[in-house]
C-alpha cells in the first residue's frame, strides 16, 4: 500500500517539476539540484507518512487490546508501555503531532500529545478489595495527558518502533 502511494506521489511530483521547468527557465544543473531536493523532500514525506501509518496502526492495536500490540517494535524487549495502559487517544487540544526524520533517513522521532487511559489494579489486601475483584472490578482507570515520545528505525526499507515512552505533557 505504501509503495503504491509513493509511486503515485513521485510520479505526480516529477511531473510537476518537469512542468515547472520551462516556466522557471532554469539552467540544467539547477534543474538537477532541484530534482534532488524534491526527491529528498519526497523521501522525507514518504517516511513521515510511513511513520504516521505505523503509529496509527500501533495505536489501534493498543486500543483494541490486541495481543500483538508489540508487533511494530523492532525488539520486543524494548516495549515501553506496560500492561496498565488501556488506551491512547490523540490530544487535539495540545500541540500538533511532530515527526522528525533524521537526515540519513534511517531513524525518526515522533512526539504525540495524547490522553492516556491507565488502569491500576487494586491489591487484594482486604475483604473489600477481594469482593471488588470478585465482581469483575478491582481496578481504577484514569485518563492523563501525556506526551508520547516514540523512536523509530528503518531497516530493510521498513520502519519499526525502537522505543516508546511517556513524558508529562
Amino acid at each position: 500500500m505504501n509503495a503504491d502511494n509513493a509511486s503515485t506521489r513521485r510520479s505526480f511530483l516529477k511531473s510537476g517539476a518537469l512542468l515547472a521547468a520551462p516556466l522557471a527557465a532554469v539552467a540544467a544543473p539547477a534543474v538537477i539540484a532541484a530534482d534532488d531536493e524534491l526527491k529528498a523532500r519526497l523521501a522525507r514525506l514518504e517516511d513521515e507518512a510511513a511513520v504516521r501509518d505505523l503509529h496509527q496502526s500501533w495505536l489501534r492495536r493498543v486500543n483494541s487490546g490486541a495481543a500483538g500490540a508489540a508487533t511494530p517494535f523492532a525488539d520486543s524487549k524494548n516495549v515501553a508501555l506496560d500492561g496498565s495502559v488501556r488506551s491512547i487517544a490523540a490530544d487535539h487540544s495540545a500541540e500538533p503531532d511532530a515527526i522528525e526524520i533524521a537526515a540519513d533517513g534511517k531513524s525518526a522521532v515522533g512526539r504525540f500529545p495524547c490522553a492516556v487511559e491507565i488502569e491500576r489494579t487494586i491489591p487484594q489486601d482486604c475483604t473489600l478489595a477481594q469482593m471488588a475483584h470478585a465482581q469483575g472490578g478491582g481496578f481504577v482507570r484514569q485518563t492523563e495527558r501525556r506526551l508520547l515520545k516514540v523512536e523509530y528505525a528503518k531497516a530493510s526499507g521498513a520502519w519499526a518502533i525502537v522505543k516508546a515512552e511517556f513524558a508529562l505533557a
Binding site: 491489591p123 489486601d125 482486604c126 475483604t127 473489600l128 478489595a129 469482593m131 465482581q135 481504577v140 482507570r141
Partner: protein
C-alpha cells in the same frame, strides 16, 4: 416455659449437609405440587397456554385443576405435575417441578400484557448440590392470531434501595433490604430471632413501574431459593420458596404475604443508568454459562486455622501499622483502605494515663512518641508497642496497638474522650471457637485516669441503636467504595460498589454500635465465616469521615492497620421497632 426464637446455630454457623444427587432425588420423589397456606388460584383451570421465551424453552401448559398441570418443553413429551398458582392484581405466579427430575419452573405472567418471565430451577448444578441454580428467560404467552409482543420484562435497578418488612401466610416474618441490584440482605425475624442479617445473590426484574420480581438464593447457607412478585404500591407479595432447610427437610411452597415499606436508600449510579445487572455473570469477553451468576463465597475461600497454626504465623509475622512494603503478602496491612485516611495525631506523645475498665484489667500507658507506646496490665512489666492515633473530633482520640505476649494475640482499638474522661475499648482476640484465626471481640467501657482529668463516676459510653437502619457509603480510595447498612443492633452488612457506583456484591457479619457523642459512633463488625477480620471504625456524622483500625490474622500473620474513608449518608430504614424484645416470644 416458652422457647426462645433463636436457633442453636446462626445461619453462617450451620454445617448444612452436603446432600448427594441421589439424596436429593430421593427427597424430591413423591413430591407433588407446592404447599400453600393460602387458597390456590383457579385462574388457569381448564385452560392451555404456550409460553415462548427468548433463547429459552417453549412451554406448553394445560391446567386440569388448580393443582395439576401437564407441560411439554420444546415440543417434547408431555408430563403431568403438581403446581400452585397465586394471583396479585394482573399478575399470575405459579411454580412446579418436573417429576423424576431435579428441576422445575417458576413463572410470572402479566395478564395485561401477556409478557412472561420464566425461571428454570435445578438442584445439583454446583458442587454443593443443595444450592439451587436458576436461569431466567423472558418471553410471552402466545395469543392466537396476534403478533408476538416486542416488549419484555427486564432486569432493573429500579428496586435498588428499597426495604420491606414481610409477613408470609406461613407466619414467617422477615426484613428484606435491596441495597444492590445484584444482592440482597435479609433478617429472619421469626425463623432465627432477628439477631443477624444475611445476604444472598439476587435478581430484580421489572414487570412495570408498579410490579417487580425479586429472587434470592441462600448461597453459602442452605442454598434455598425464594422468588416473589412485589406489588410496590400495596406492598404485597406472591411467590415460591424451594430448598432444603437445616434439617434437610424439603421446603417447597407458594406463599402470599403482606408487608410494610421501610424506606428508600440512595442510589449512586448516574441518573439515567437503570442497569439491572451491575455485576456481569461472566468475565469480560466470556459467555456466561447457563445459570451463571457472581456469588461471593467467603467461607469457601477463607483461611481456616488451628490455634497451633495461629501461634506459628503470629510468631513468624506480626505487625501493627506497618508500611505495606514492610509487610508483603495476601494478608498484609490493608493499605487499600487507607487511601482516604486522615492525618494521625501526635497528641498522645509524652503523655501517660491509665484506662480503668469496668469489667477488664486496667491498662497503664506511657506514650514515648507519636508511634511508640508502652503498656502494662495490672502492674506487670511494661511492654513496648507500635501505635497510631487519630483525633476524629476535638478531644476524642482513636488509637490501637497489639498486646504482645497475650496468649490470644489481643489487639486493642480504643476511643478515648479526653473531654469527658471516658473510654471504650474494642478488644480483638484470636483462638475463637470455630476457627482460631477468626477474630472475636469484647467491649470494655471505662474511664481515663490522668493528671488534671476527673472522670465521671457512673456515666459511660453506651451501646446504642441510633445507627440501626442507616446506610452510609464509604470511599476508602479511588475505585474502592462500599456502603454499610446497619441492619440490626447486632449486625451490619457491606455492599461493594462497582466502577459505575452501583451496589454489587454484599456480605454481612455480627456488629455492635457504641455512642461516643452525638453524631460520633464507634462500631465494629466481625467477618465471621469470611476473612475473620475485626473491623473497627469511628464514624463522625458531622465531618462525614470515618477512621478505623483493622485486626486480621491469616496465613501470612497477624496485622493491625489503619483505615479511613470519606462518607455519604445513603438513607435510612425504619427498623428499630422490629428489634424490641417483648415479654413473650422474644424479638418482634
Amino acid at each position: 416455659m416458652p422457647g426462645t426464637p433463636y436457633p442453636k446455630e446462626q445461619m453462617h454457623r450451620i454445617a448444612y449437609t452436603k446432600l448427594s444427587e441421589q439424596q436429593i432425588t430421593s427427597k424430591l420423589s413423591g413430591v407433588s405440587g407446592p404447599a400453600s397456606a393460602s387458597p390456590l388460584s383457579d385462574v388457569f383451570v381448564g385452560k392451555s397456554i404456550r409460553i415462548v421465551t427468548d433463547k429459552g424453552p417453549a412451554l406448553v401448559y394445560a391446567f386440569s385443576k388448580n393443582n395439576r398441570l401437564s407441560v411439554a418443553e420444546n415440543g417434547g413429551t408431555v408430563v403431568q405435575a403438581g403446581y400452585g398458582a397465586l394471583t396479585l392484581d394482573n399478575i399470575i405466579f405459579f411454580a412446579h417441578l418436573i417429576p423424576g427430575a431435579q428441576r422445575g419452573y417458576a413463572v410470572a405472567i402479566d395478564q395485561s400484557t401477556n409478557l412472561a418471565t420464566v425461571f428454570e430451577l435445578w438442584f445439583s448444578g454446583y458442587e454443593d448440590n443443595r444450592e439451587i441454580q436458576r436461569e431466567i428467560y423472558y418471553g410471552y404467552v402466545e395469543q392466537t392470531g396476534q403478533e408476538a409482543p416486542k416488549a419484555r420484562h427486564a432486569p432493573t435497578n429500579r428496586i435498588d434501595g428499597k426495604g420491606y418488612y414481610w409477613k408470609q401466610d406461613t407466619g414467617a416474618e422477615t426484613l428484606e433490604f435491596y441495597p444492590s441490584a445484584a444482592y440482597s440482605n435479609f433478617v429472619e425475624l421469626s425463623r432465627f430471632g432477628g439477631e443477624l442479617s444475611f445476604c444472598g445473590p439476587s435478581d430484580y426484574i421489572k414487570i412495570n413501574e408498579d410490579f417487580c420480581i425479586y429472587t434470592r438464593t441462600e448461597c453459602e447457607f442452605s442454598g434455598t431459593f425464594t422468588a416473589y412478585v412485589i406489588d410496590l404500591n400495596r406492598v404485597e407479595q406472591i411467590g415460591v420458596r424451594l430448598g432444603f432447610d437445616a434439617n434437610d427437610a424439603l421446603e417447597y411452597y407458594v406463599f402470599r404475604g403482606k408487608g410494610e415499606w421501610l424506606g428508600q436508600l440512595a442510589q449512586f449510579e448516574k441518573f439515567g443508568d437503570e442497569t439491572g445487572a451491575p455485576v456481569p455473570a461472566a468475565a469480560e469477553g466470556q459467555t456466561p454459562a447457563k445459570g451463571a451468576r457472581r456469588v461471593y463465597r467467603p467461607f469457601k475461600t477463607m483461611a481456616k486455622m488451628t490455634p497451633a497454626q495461629v501461634d506459628a504465623v503470629c510468631a513468624k509475622h506480626t505487625s501493627a501499622f506497618a508500611p505495606r512494603a514492610i509487610s508483603p503478602g495476601a494478608n498484609a496491612p490493608a493499605a487499600s483502605m487507607a487511601g482516604n485516611l486522615g492525618p494521625s495525631t501526635s497528641w498522645l506523645a509524652g503523655k501517660s494515663f491509665t484506662l480503668h475498665y469496668d469489667h477488664a484489667p486496667a491498662m497503664e500507658y506511657r506514650f514515648d512518641d507519636a508511634e511508640t507506646l508502652q503498656w502494662r496490665k495490672e502492674g506487670r512489666d511494661w511492654t513496648k508497642a507500635r501505635y497510631q492515633a487519630f483525633e476524629s473530633s476535638p478531644g476524642v482520640v482513636l488509637f490501637g496497638h497489639l498486646l504482645e505476649g497475650e496468649p490470644n494475640h489481643d489487639g486493642h482499638s480504643i476511643v478515648a474522650d479526653f473531654h469527658q474522661g471516658l473510654v471504650t475499648c474494642l478488644n480483638g482476640y484470636l483462638n475463637t471457637p470455630y476457627f482460631a484465626n477468626e477474630a472475636g471481640v469484647k467491649i470494655h467501657f471505662g474511664v481515663i485516669e490522668m493528671e488534671g482529668l476527673i472522670p465521671p463516676k457512673y456515666r459511660r459510653h453506651e451501646l446504642t441503636d441510633e445507627m440501626i437502619g442507616r446506610a452510609v457509603s464509604q470511599n476508602y480510595a479511588p475505585g474502592l467504595t462500599s456502603m454499610h447498612l446497619y441492619t440490626t443492633p447486632h449486625s451490619l452488612s457491606w455492599i461493594i460498589f462497582t466502577n459505575a457506583d452501583a451496589g454489587g456484591l454484599e456480605w454481612s457479619g455480627p456488629a455492635a454500635y457504641v455512642k461516643i457523642r452525638d453524631g460520633l459512633y464507634f462500631m465494629y463488625w466481625l467477618e465471621e465465616a469470611c476473612n475473620g477480620t475485626l473491623g473497627t471504625i469511628l464514624v463522625n456524622l458531622h465531618t462525614m469521615r470515618d477512621v478505623g483500625i483493622g485486626y486480621n490474622c491469616g496465613e501470612n500473620g497477624l496485622n493491625m492497620n489503619a483505615l479511613g474513608a470519606h462518607e455519604r449518608l445513603a438513607g435510612h430504614f425504619d427498623v428499630k421497632r422490629f428489634y424490641q424484645v417483648k415479654a413473650s416470644g422474644g424479638a418482634v
